[in-house]
Symmetry: C2
Subunit: 246 residues, 2 copies
DNA sequence: ATTCGGGCTTGACGTAGGTCAATGCGTGGC
DNA sequence: GCCACGCATTGACCTACGTCAAGCCCGAAT
């Protein structure tokens, strides 16, 4: 959020993170002392599979992403981390390694917090602990949700589910909803990687939904987001919902 | 662990749970006061999809399981909870509902802890918070691992991965390893539901692995676990590992 | 013993969906 | 202006895998 106008400490950055908000001032100072502020350009590789996790990475602006790549080259997006969210929590509690590549989905500013500093901070503050727990619990719930989808539903159902989720704004990975239109960040291939399928299959399914009059995809109209933001307007939300299997 | 010889409070049950171990005695008492001890017979339904989550469920013995069922009837095991582990953590931080059915995978004894009591307990103890965080972080890591597998790997690779995981004892869902043999709890259909496939497909893949001399499945020999424990001996771990894609 | 049922295996079959390749379009570079 | 590149779309193909159905084995119940 705060650009690094190289002041002595990035307290602003740390303090603006939800899980640390409300921390006593001296604790914040301690934390800020252990911070390394970094910027990544879209597409940059932050960490690779099996790299040791030795920082809690908190994103200030932009988006990071954890991607699993199978031997055959297929990619599955496993986590997306937006402003105020974090990454690398496993390192806090154990010696661990990334089990996927971490890349910048957008130009991103992030704080690298040494795990010891974070451990100290959270064990000194029940509220911070609670917020961390909350964050993890939510993430876990979403992860298990996706597990279930990936394991038991076909592409059509997953896509439908993603669309209704996006339409309800309940989806971290979608942009704002305007009337009944949804704007997706990034290219379709990205959503394909989220849904565990290929761009081609996704394209076909979108087409059938369009043909069935469930959605429509207006031309970009040369407005809004300059870079690859796709828009889709939901026509028959109810039908989509029942396709997704509630 | 401790049977409920209806003493006034089940402190033993609560105290033996890792995330609460080391809690001060009075806090334990508070917790114990808010406990409901329950037993479930294998197959029993503890909670259904969309039921409100209003307890932290800690299993003392046995196994609980969360299953997602798709509209077409396919089932995906989303979580398995063994002794000392818990379920329902999302209820601690938000009004939430189960997004899958919770059933007893075995005869199970569990403690139902009111969320308020647990919240109080953990906010009074940094160590307890830390252990809870650790538990969630690990679970999340495993969940994301599975997400990646389900989304990007085929059944053969997933099976191979599961086998090497089991062989290394790193897998919660496998029994002990004896030499290079692994014993799986429950029927194959169960593992199929974990791997996001069907019993038939699993059977075929096991067969091809057997034909290729990577594993073998000895006859039950009328020993060990009475009920449906399957054993498989790993012959070529290295090859399995490379099939799984490291 | 006979029967029943549940889990496992196998076969045959159909299809969802992944792969490969060609085309079209829009954008940025030069 | 042109060219090149990235993304999307579409078609053709093929295979992994899910589905349905039959047979089998074994343990439990009658």
């Amino acid at each position: 959020m705060v650009p690094n106008h190289s002041g002595h400490a990035h307290i602003g950055c740390v303090a603006s993170v939800p899980i640390f908000s409300g921390l006593p001032h001296d604790t914040l100072l301690q934390l800020a002392a252990a911070v390394r502020h970094r910027e990544f350009r879209r597409g940059a590789l932050i960490a690779s599979y099996s790299d040791p996790i030795d920082n809690l990475i908190v994103v200030a602006s932009g988006r990071l992403r954890v991607v699993h790549t199978s031997p055959s080259g297929r990619e599955q997006i496993v986590r997306e981390v937006g402003p105020g969210e974090f990454l690398g929590e496993l390192g806090l509690v154990a010696a661990a390694r990334y089990d996927g590549d971490v890349i910048a989905a957008d130009d991103t500013q992030a704080c690298m917090l040494s795990k010891d500093a974070v451990r100290r901070a959270i064990s000194s503050s029940p509220e911070a602990s609670m917020r961390l727990i909350e964050s993890l619990a939510r993430r876990l719930a979403r992860a298990e949700q996706v597990m279930g989808d990936l394991g038991a539903r076909d592409v059509g159902q997953r896509l439908a589910a993603e669309l209704v989720r996006a339409a309800q704004g309940g989806c971290e990975c979608s942009g704002r909803r305007e009337s009944n239109a949804v704007v997706l960040p990034g290219p379709w291939s990205e959503m394909a990687a989220r849904l565990g399928t290929t761009p081609e299959s996704l394209s076909r399914r979108l087409r059938t939904f369009e043909d069935e009059g469930l959605i429509s995809r207006p031309a970009p109209e040369a407005e809004s987001d300059p870079d690859g933001a796709r828009r889709v307007v939901i026509i028959d939300l109810e039908r989509l919902r029942e396709i997704s299997g509630l």
